[in-house]
């Protein structure tokens, strides 16, 4: 029972990380109508920038806090140099251009930081366990991710639902040209939203770094999961992204944690351990296919 609880918490933690990534993606798509494959590169850049800054400042928290404005700036620059030109283009051209950006950023990282992966140590004050229930220890760092992720999710929900900028974001998502015609500076709005998405991606990247490793292409696989999440949730819907991220996180972790034992009952141990992650990945895509067959615009997507 405790094991199940721990794995479900891991699923929540993974889901929140992916939600951070998916939130930026669904905002840029919902408002700017932009397919940004390079969003995973911002996740990777966030982790690498944090690695450098943590090295300079010798403090995880300080380095991470400095990395956020840095990824915001990077997002603003990428938006101004490339993305701005892509808003009016069709999806194919966006896919192509942002695919090119992925290649660029992967090589850029190799040039600046070298081909070998980096690791960020779990900060000392979180390198222990907390008791989430009496007698049930849980790694403090993972718990911190859940807390930060949840706080950011709540902040984002508040930003979108309760503030003026959130009002503009929602208006932009439902009719871009109209809010432009109403005299809103949509260029500034787009820059801000893109920068915000970059910060979320960077935050997810740097928080994931101590759990995995900081390496080239780290954003590419998780990016596809993030796309799956926004497609399941309905493109442009923050709520949908959150729900879908939680579902995908649970499927992934629970699949990884419990499938091997289940498979071992009829497969060899090594076959089971290599098949289990594959099956849990496959399950995610099956869920997505199912949702799209049932609702072609996702769970919370706008009907056309």
């Amino acid at each position: 029972m405790d094991y199940l609880l721990l794995q479900m918490l891991n699923g929540v933690q993974l889901g929140l990380l992916m939600f951070l990534l998916a939130a930026g993606l669904t905002l840029t798509f919902g408002i700017m109508d932009l397919v940004n494959l390079a969003h995973g590169s911002l996740y990777m850049m966030g982790a690498y920038i944090a690695w450098t800054l943590i090295g300079w400042t010798d403090s995880f928290v300080l380095g991470a806090l400095l990395a956020l404005p840095a990824t915001f700036l990077l997002g603003i620059v990428v938006e101004a140099v490339v993305m701005r030109r892509l808003y009016v283009r069709d999806h194919l051209e966006q896919v192509l251009a942002t695919f090119g950006l992925i290649l660029f950023f992967n090589e850029l990282v190799r040039v600046i930081w070298g081909p070998a992966g980096k690791s960020i140590a779990v900060p000392a004050f979180l390198n222990r366990t907390v008791e989430i229930l009496p007698g049930v220890p849980y790694p403090a760092y993972r718990f911190a991710i859940i807390v930060v992720g949840a706080v950011v999710a709540v902040l984002l929900a508040w930003l979108v639902a309760r503030t003026r900028i959130g009002m503009l974001i929602r208006a932009g998502a439902s009719n871009r040209r109209m809010i432009g015609a109403l005299g809103i500076n949509i260029e500034l709005l787009f820059s801000l939203v893109f920068g915000l998405g970059a910060v979320f991606a960077g935050l997810a990247g740097l928080m994931a770094a101590p759990l995995t490793s900081v390496k080239i292409g780290m954003g590419d696989d998780i990016l596809i999961l993030a796309f799956v999440i926004i497609v399941i949730g309905g493109i442009g819907s923050i709520k949908g992204a959150f729900v879908a991220a939680m579902v995908v996180g649970q499927i992934d972790i629970v699949g990884r944690a419990f499938l091997p034992d289940l498979l071992k009952t009829f497969l060899s141990a090594s076959a089971a351990s290599s098949a289990a992650p594959a099956i849990s990945q496959v399950l995610i895509y099956v869920v997505m296919a199912g949702v799209l067959v049932w609702r072609p615009t996702g769970l919370f997507g706008q009907r056309t």
């Binding site: 490339v82 660029f104 190799r110 796309f227 098949a275 990945q281």
Partner: protein, 329 residues
């Protein structure tokens, strides 16, 4: 326009020249003792088959399928798995592989063509990832590391181990694929697909069951993609999930756009340009500074951005716009 007359246009002349060079490539590489070039040439021809097949739905149909490399994987794994279990005959392997690719394309098409726009891009990508992860999970067939296989056997007909024969087989199949694609593009079926690209509501209103037409095109495209996968597995005598990674699907889209979407020979130009760029950017960058060649993608990436932004028609449009638009091929 007849074949001879088409030679008078720059497009016709260049294309004819290109095909002649490709046709005699093994002789050229032998004469200049450049074996390595023949293996690049073989890969170009195989990728061109895949690119032509993607062009049928992406270029003519306007359907951005972001999972076309999955057919590399399905074709390749069908051959590899059969060969691994001792079924060496190509007469069995190849039809099985093509049927597998066709069935998968039909299934994916039936589900994904219900959606449009970004949803379509992502669902095709997701199905490709699904197969990719299955390939990575097949412990018996090497999982992520892949599997060395022996090449398909066609006893008494052709020996695929001979590099030149294998190249010519690939080239002949490319010509066949191009011929099929030209028939497709100019047929009534192809015109419906092209009409649906510019306005699918109008085609529906005209009474065409657009969904069924698109599904048929998607399935055909998958069958030819499977053929390319068979050849790719035989080229390296090796299969691995990396054949169908989503980056390869991205490369295929790049190739089609680079060459010219919805044009017959565009995918071929695109494939050649893509491989030539890859092979030449490395030495060129090395000229500036030793060791920079390794980072060729730092130049290639921004080039893609520029191509997406400023080169809509691709290489094909450099030869001017095609004058004639034939009703029948």
């Amino acid at each position: 326009m007849s074949f001879i007359a088409s030679l008078r246009t720059p497009r016709g002349l260049i294309t004819a020249l290109l095909l002649v060079i490709l046709a005699v490539l093994p002789l050229l590489t032998q004469a200049f003792d450049q074996r390595y070039l023949l293996s690049i040439g073989t890969r170009i021809v195989i990728w061109a088959i895949a690119a032509v097949s993607l062009n049928m739905i992406l270029g003519y149909g306007g359907l951005v399928s972001f999972g076309h490399a999955v057919f590399f994987g399905i074709g390749g794994y069908a051959v590899g798995i059969l060969s691994h279990h001792g079924v060496a005959s190509g007469w069995i392997q190849w039809p099985v592989a093509i049927i597998a690719a066709t069935l998968w394309a039909a299934l994916v098409g039936a589900l994904s063509l219900r959606t449009r726009g970004l949803y379509f891009i992502m669902i095709t990508l997701a199905f490709a990832q699904l197969v990719f992860y299955v390939g990575g999970g097949l412990e018996a067939y090497g999982a992520d590391d892949g599997l060395n296989i022996s090449r398909s056997r066609f006893p008494g007909v052709i020996d695929l181990r001979d590099k030149a024969s294998f190249y010519w087989l690939c080239f002949a199949l490319l010509c066949g694929t191009l011929w099929f694609c030209s028939r497709f593009a100019n047929s009534r079926f192809g015109l419906v697909i092209r009409g649906a690209k510019s306005n699918d509501l109008r085609m529906t209103a005209l009474g065409f069951p657009v969904f069924r037409y698109r599904l048929a095109a998607f399935t055909l495209s998958g069958a030819f993609g499977g053929l390319a996968g068979i050849l790719l597995a035989n080229e390296g005598a090796y299969i691995s999930p990396a054949m169908m990674s989503w980056v390869k699907s991205g490369d295929l889209i790049v190739i089609v756009v680079l060459g010219g979407m919805g044009t017959l020979f565009g995918p071929l130009y695109g494939t050649i340009a893509f491989f030539v760029l890859e092979e030449s950017l490395k030495p060129i960058l090395d000229l500036f500074h030793k060791g920079w060649g390794e980072y060729w993608q730092i130049v290639f990436g921004p080039m893609l951005v520029l191509i997406a932004l400023y080169a809509k028609g691709g290489i094909d449009s450099l030869f001017g716009s095609p004058k004639e638009w034939r009703r029948h091929g």
